[in-house]
Amino acid sequence: MTTTKQAPVAVAADHGGREAARARARALTSLISRNGAVAVLVIVVLAGTLLVSSFGKPDNLRNVALAASFIGIIAAGMTFVIISGGIDLSVGSTYALATIISAMYAPRGSFIAVLYALLAAGLVGLIQGLIIARWRLPAFIVTLAGLTGVRGLVFYITHEGNDHPRIEGRLAFEALGTGSLATIGTPVWIMLAVFGIGWWALNRTPFGQSVQAVGGNQSAAELMGLPVKRTQTIVYVVSGLCAGLSGVLTTALSGGGQEARIGDAYELSAIAAVVIGGTLLSGGVGSMVGTLAGVLLLFVIQNLIVQGANLNSYVQQVVSGSFLLVVVILQAALSRRAGTSET
């Protein structure tokens, strides 16, 4: 147009050090906001170690990690679902399905037992994913129906819960549950591996990009030409498989014999862990590391209640509920400080 002088268009070029200061401030705040749960975890663990003598013992920490690994694996899958803008309430039932099937087919050998359990769990995820993606039905309701229906299926195959199939004798896959590496139980390593792979898939693969874009704004993702339906379907399969894996490990650890009602309300723990980890239920934003910290927080709190106090069951409930609230409020405050303010 009429401009004679060359005005630089570059906006954020590093002039006068101001942009550098901004970048530093941003890096710090986003570090805190993305890792609010990690920060809270560190605080709680430190406080726990100082205040409750038996908490910090290696045995106890190992046990906390082991206990956390089952919900942890489920929560890893849930993270994908929630980042994609959905939710999966069916994981507790799917977990039960895999637990029972893997024990039921144990006589056919480890491979078949694990394979069938994972297939069943993956299939549950696939069906739900297809319904949600193709028919555009709300995930909350579809997976709520999944929660009910799959639990019904579990009752059905156990003859109204009469059977508690068990592994007789030793089977190879039991090592998945009972084994240990460097004194730490195999399920913990498996959970870490799942989180590692999950982190990679979310942040380092096109699929992960697609999950985040779909969750951020589904119609925008469609307009950008991303495979929205496929992505939505896959996240539920991933979630189903994670729940299934967790169920298989449960059978492996306990030798089977679980009740048909096992895994009741696990979805709430998993969702809580994911959300405490800083993932937004509205989708788009979330982190694997956060979820891991969220899961550990839940179990550390639970353990501290057992280790630190001798409470009756209802006071115990009050304490863990309040603890949960404090943690989420703290986490929200940390992330908000760093994130954009809304007034």
Partner: protein, 371 residues
């Protein structure tokens, strides 16, 4: 193949493939050689003990377990702590009484007792038990959520040389004294049988019967159903026709709403078997609203022996209540003492359960036997 797995998984070793309820139904009935019921064998009992039984004990099965066999050292109960792991919320009379009994017995002996509650979550119970062991508990008395499924905690206790005493529900699939210490339990199948007997007596063997099942997938439910139906068959009570079977989730509210609906579809029901007192009382509330309460209109038999239900007998609304005695505190702690410090305790002890009807209900209330 599917069913092979099921049957090997359930309480008995029987391999009937046709009916899922069959393995449990035959559990206590089919005595093995030596007169030991299969369910007891599954819990590690191999022989019926003939030594004189203490009060409240209905049967004891050997071998005798000694803590030292598992390398468990003596416990100094004045200094060491022990743990009590409850399986479900202390929110119904049974669980409240069961925890209270442990706490009071420990207090009476001056023992230090840690307590936890797994809120019906098996994984939680595993980590509760392990948590108490990590906190230094030398022995754990626990009420298992399920007869199986606590393998992780049991293995951990074994590795830490901690004594494990299951109460009220037996741990099955174990070898006597090898995996856990002495077990003290009620016999839920037997409770079902006795309920059937009481029902036959109350109705004169002729009734249109509705069953309020306990929560689905819980083995107490299975046992009480199996025992009941089995006994009806065994007693040839073909006049009792089961027209309705629905879960009432062991709660009063569900017991009531299910009964309300049932009364619409089956107004001709003349008897109700409730697998716990709470559901029975819920059913009673529904009958009352419909103007049908009273044993002259609808018979009710339930299991547990709580005050409310025993009172209902006195009021003429229930026919009979089979007790499921939750007070394992003194007996289990005595067994623990014998197991670790004394000369052993039987692998499986079955406690005596009372039974109330119009003849003894008032007395049970006044003496405080009903909890």
């Amino acid at each position: 193949a599917l069913l092979t797995a099921c049957s090997t998984g359930s309480n008995s070793g029987s391999t009937t493939d046709d009916s899922s309820a069959a393995p449990v139904a035959t559990a206590l009935g089919s005595a093995n050689a030596g007169g030991v019921p299969a369910a007891i064998t599954a819990a590690g009992g191999t022989e019926l003990l003939t030594r004189p039984k203490g009060e409240g004990v209905s049967a004891e099965y050997g071998p005798m377990c000694k803590g030292s066999d598992l390398g468990i050292g003596k416990i100094d109960f004045k200094k060491d702590t022990i743990g009590w792991a409850q399986s479900e919320k202390e929110a119904n009379p049974f669980r409240i009484a069961s925890t209270k009994s442990q706490i009071e017995a420990a207090k009476a002996k001056g023992w230090k007792l840690l307590t936890t509650n797994a809120q019906s979550n098996v994984q939680q119970e595993n980590s509760d038990i392990k948590g108490m062991i990590d906190k230094g508990a030398k022995a754990i008395i626990f009420s298992p959520i399920n007869s199986t499924g606590l393998g992780d905690a049991i293995a951990y206790a074994k590795s830490k040389k901690v004594a494990m005493i299951p109460v009220d529900r037996n741990i099955t699939g174990v070898q006597g004294c090898k995996d856990v210490g002495p077990q003290l339990g009620s016999d839920f199948v037997e409770q079902g049988r006795r309920a059937a007997d009481a029902m036959i007596k109350a109705t004169g063997g002729k009734a249109k019967l509705a069953i309020l099942l306990g929560a689905s997938g819980v083995n107490v439910t299975d046992d009480r159903t199996a025992g009941f139906l089995d006994q009806l068959k065994a007693k040839n009570a073909s006049g009792i026709e089961v027209v309705f079977q629905q879960t009432g989730d062991f709660t009063r509210e569900k017991g009531k709403s299910v009964t309300e609906t049932m009364l619409r579809a089956h107004p001709d029901v003349t008897a109700i078997y409730a697998e716990n007192d709470e559901m029975g009382l819920g059913a009673l509330a529904a009958l009352d609203d419909a103007g049908k309460s009273g044993t002259d209109k609808v018979h009710i038999v339930s299991i547990d022996g709580t005050k409310g239900a025993v009172q209902a007998i006195v009021d003429g609304n229930f026919d009979a209540v089979i007790e499921s005695n939750p007070a394992f505190g003194p007996a289990s702690q005595a067994a623990l003492e014998a197991y670790v410090n004394g000369d052993g305790a039987p692998a499986v002890t079955i406690t005596t359960d009372n039974q109330y009807d119009s003849s003894n209900a008032a007395e049970a209330l006044s003496s405080g036997k009903a909890y």
